[in-house]
Point group: D3
Chain length 277, copies 6
């Protein structure tokens, strides 16, 4: 986290002056952060940076993506009591929100692994405004793929582009536009998938297609010798509930906005365990 | 939304250059935004500001907190196709995330109303870092209370403060600190609640107390003639599932971090309906 | 002070390049900061942060609000001569401006104490744009009350609100809007004061009322049993000159924009006392 | 004012959400801003920019530095009542603070003109952190000179520089450093003034010298034929009270930190005169 | 250009106050911007945004990348004389710098076209800090390829990575890291090129290899049936002078830091052609 | 460099996440930065600040403006391999760009010294947007003069100003505007130069005048006794190629936009020399 990011978040949670804390006589203290439920932990770097900015030493033996039991220790903190109390809510908001995303991702990846060794689980650009960078990292911590970061990151040819200029012209223009970026084409039918693959798309996104349509599309691509050169991604309306049906298709990538927008926070807590005399 | 906020969010989603859109011949277009499921809408101002910044006219007849049926129209858009496509994801992220919060809040308020006419449903400081302002507004749109915004907003005496200086000294110091701010004291027992109320706290937060303990505490406060001058808030581990039990206690305020951290996004979509020749 | 604030102030006073200092051979030096006149000191944290940012060690045994004699030492500095010279003007501007505010506040509080033990002296939102946070802290350092920080901080129902919707509707709406914020109502007559108190306002601000009108209003509120539940604030045209007349009324709060906009800077100086060979 | 400056000031005064104003039904309104006391007006551009940002039309026939009678109209406003109320305090803070500085400057210039046609009255770098740009403009509006803006603006050789490297070496280095910047040397004696002028300084600042010493120094410079090529500035402890003594010396420039740090705000008010039905 | 970017650049060139312009009586004026030498124009959007921010109407019939003769008109301007003078230098700095880059790029592309129809000319990350976005766009305007934007944009395995973990492990890790990003491997020998292509790299960058080595490497890749699936890029020490030798190899991409760091500004001028009476 | 500047540059080159580096196992490493060609070095402070921000120790025994042989060592680095790789490109971009400017400046100064001992070589406001501060410092490192920094820095009366108000009025207004700033007048003829000098300009800029016209103008100024009080600057179309002709005129200052816009980067490289086991 950049210092300007830390300061933006601290300003939001502290405001102009933290009155409650000015009442308290400052003393050095020790505290712990632990999880109240099993989770895949994420946000360690973000929480650590916040404590560090406020002069609190935060020690952890964990790394992003570690699987924790309920009750597991996350951080051991040492510093001024006032600083610990000031950092508490903000650090926990990062840990709880990001661990929630990592945990949902991890559980989705496990479901997929029951049916496919190589299928990736990816998030999308449906992220909370302002903290995409952190949320995408949490998906990666959970074993998922960050997908493209923003509109500049890779070239995505969507239905609107196709409607405006036709699929051939769109792919041709895309290939000309950049040699460093992959070209992904969003299609809604088997025919369009074959067409896009034949035109040299790097990734074919099957939008809102049913598992059986995906299977059939993969088969046709294979038959036409096009499967080797493209990655096929299933997308649209996929959640933890119906995920296995998609995993069984053996598609290369399953992308789910739900990794972020259906995640719920992990319940993580801070407890002061000792005040110096 | 301030211009600097809009630009921060646009930079995040656009990156240095939106290649996909540069491929497309720009044409003026019309589009609609509608909800795919029933919801309490929020984020109209945020989405409108984003479209406006990019030169897209966004018209709506709705206001924050309106209850919508599945399929209901939210915005009618007119502008360059490229600008509409550029604003799409960001505007939908705000609408989906904030309407999700407003909808959960609204449904919680309705549950509470079945048992209590006046009990407020409030969120907490457990908000997604960077967009607390917008999330708190969504809670208000859903009929909830924003609670205190940050550490400077009102004085909250928590267990750590009490441990560090004792409840009497803490309340006395708080009263001296500011005449414009309410003093809220977090207690974990009936006895502490009575003590805090007697010392002149404005709000007593019953932390992690069971519904029956809340009922009993309210009764004792009433008996001692202290109930008139304080608001009593129940907090800790309350979610939509166990909410009614708390509503039945007749407590003044029920605060739920869950309004934000258990909300799921409303499914809201944009569709281009017409391109000019 | 956040790093971004320090850098904003340093950029203002340094510009793109401090030519004069680049002429000088840098040497380590010692300097002192002292006050040339008796004062209540404020701005220690701000000045310290500036020196610290530029790598100068700044030691002080004082705390905000200490009363100093003319000639008293404020800081003992140690660092590169160039850095000390660079920080000098900016640090002194904070110390001089803020100590001036603290000193005026402190002298006003003393005047009030001659007549009332509990009456608070508060500033208003009439502050120098850009540094309200620091000016309000200086008022607190001088023994005053910071009053509400900004428009989001507490609810203030002013004449314009009353004109637009009537006092009853305004207070009712305010009570519904938030349970964490006090409601202050600005009134210009005894009758309106009684009405507002009866409707449940937390603070009644008597705007531009004469001392004798204040006395009479306090008496009526007392007689009607409304005084216990409200704080009464006198405001409008009060300065150090006429302050005692208001103090004699025994009103709860006297608010004075003058604490800030009539303060004059304390004369504080830096002197280099030693250059290393 | 840059948009980022306006937004910084608005954020400071509005906070996350202006609750009071959300209570009010918005209506279009007309208001006036007028001065309650005679003044030299300044801050018109700043106030206008704030109203403009919030969508309020602000019309004035005045220009910076106009002399106003008590009661004179400054702005006529038209816009939403809520927007007018939101801009009110911030716009008045600029107008009151800056007109106070312009008025004090103007009165000092008039005192000086009684004794000298050409002597300039200048401010210094003793300005309120964060708004130097606006305060210096107010000095100019009042007929004063802005002096150097910051450490990069011109070269100032002060006692510390001289102590560190000697006056000759300092001036020689300064002349070499830049051909576009004037060199000002701060001296404390007649001898040093003559030395500095002889070495080619552009401006000699007589620091803390008494009027009679200034007269004598000017005379010696004249006699030695050095007066033509330098400007002589008197500085140190000069306020409105002792200003005329310095004006009588005929020195070229009198610089006074007091223009800013002893100014008091002009009493300027906003009144809503009409609400649309 | 975002408003915050425009304001950053304007602050740099204007400073706190543009004194020269405040001397001038403002009048509406017309001006033209034209090129004094043949060029490939770039920076039209940037210059236009600057004029627009300052209220000057800037009309052009050109688009990025147009080839201009010496003397050709670029913009026709209409607005206040002071605003035109204020925007002049900044707008010309963008136009001159970016057109210089576009022109060098365009001339390099033409040289390459003499020998190869499809070889791309790309820039690198050797760009002027702070304005990469604009410089990369200028390369594109000149017919070049922007290459990857920053370290997050695509995966580049360089000698240091290979040294730290071996080429196989590095490529395997890269493939696992993201399915949306191409993997580029930097090699220094034919053998390493074949190895990387065999391991599934998307782009092979031949670093500092001579044209004859490039030819031989391409031939081996072709023979081994690996050429179809990779793009081959030549890089290192290539400038306009030796470019044709590389073009003759038929390599897919030639990347040249020189497009930016050896470009010289195009000589573009502004002339006021008319002042309104 | 301010922290906010460092973070802006790092964000530009790193993006949201440096994928390549996350693949690498981090190890502590040592590296060197050296120049591949003879140069006048500049940018040491900027590069050092970047390494320092990323936790890499960067040691150098050089100072800005030192003349280096090809192969000379610039920095010795010690830190995490990932951090060194992350800082590499950005630090080298500063070193290469700024050393290029310093080297061109230095070579121009040497050419001028062959003919004139005192003539200064200065840059102009033709600088790359966003990094003027650094480029001007590089000119100074190379022995040149930074000229005025921006429009607020000194008063420049250009042809447009003269056209709008006449030369006499313009100079009179300028003298009145500020006593701390020099007045520079841009003229295109001997007559105008004499007029401006007579009116008290501090600097006369001979715009686009040929060497023989410059000689003749200097002679006339000398004859009229005006030369002593003004500096004469030659400007317009001067590059390294025709510089000596101007140097021979003995003019006080030669200003060249070319110092920046015709500079080419110095070829500077980083090499990792050791990885810890």
């Amino acid at each position: 986290m950049l210092i300007k990011e830390i300061e933006q978040f601290i300003e939001e949670d502290l405001g102009h002056d933290d009155i409650s804390c000015t009442l308290v006589p400052d003393r050095s203290a020790e505290a712990i952060i632990f999880t109240k439920e099993a989770c895949t932990v994420a946000g360690l770097g973000e929480a650590g940076a916040i404590f560090n900015y406020l002069g609190v030493r935060a020690e952890t033996s964990l790394k992003e993506g570690d699987e924790l039991e309920a009750g597991a220790l996350i951080f051991r903190l040492k510093g001024g009591a006032v600083s610990i109390l000031r950092a508490e809510r903000l650090a926990l908001n990062f840990l709880g929100h990001l661990s929630g995303i990592a945990s949902l991702t991890s559980s989705c990846v496990k479901l997929v692994r029951k049916h496919s060794k190589s299928t990736r689980v990816a998030c999308t650009r449906k992220t909370t405004p302002g903290i995409r960078k952190f949320e995408k990292r949490a998906v990666v911590a959970g074993g998922g793929d960050a997908h493209r970061f923003n509109l500049s990151d890779s070239i995505m040819i969507k239905d609107n582009h196709i409607q405006l200029m036709g699929i051939e012209a769109a792919i041709r223009a895309a290939r000309k536009a950049s040699f460093t970026k992959k070209i992904e084409v969003e299609v809604e039918s088997e025919g369009a998938a074959v067409l896009a693959a034949g035109l040299g798309a790097d990734i074919i996104m099957l939008d809102n297609m049913k598992p059986e349509e995906i299977v059939s599309t993969l088969k046709v691509l294979e038959e036409k010798g096009l499967k080797q050169s493209v990655l096929v991604e299933a997308s649209g309306g996929i959640s933890r509930e119906n995920l296995e049906e998609y995993a069984k298709t053996g598609v290369d990538v399953i992308s789910m906005g739900a990794l972020i927008h259906k995640a719920r926070w992990t319940d993580i807590s801070l407890e002061v365990i000792n005040y110096a005399e």
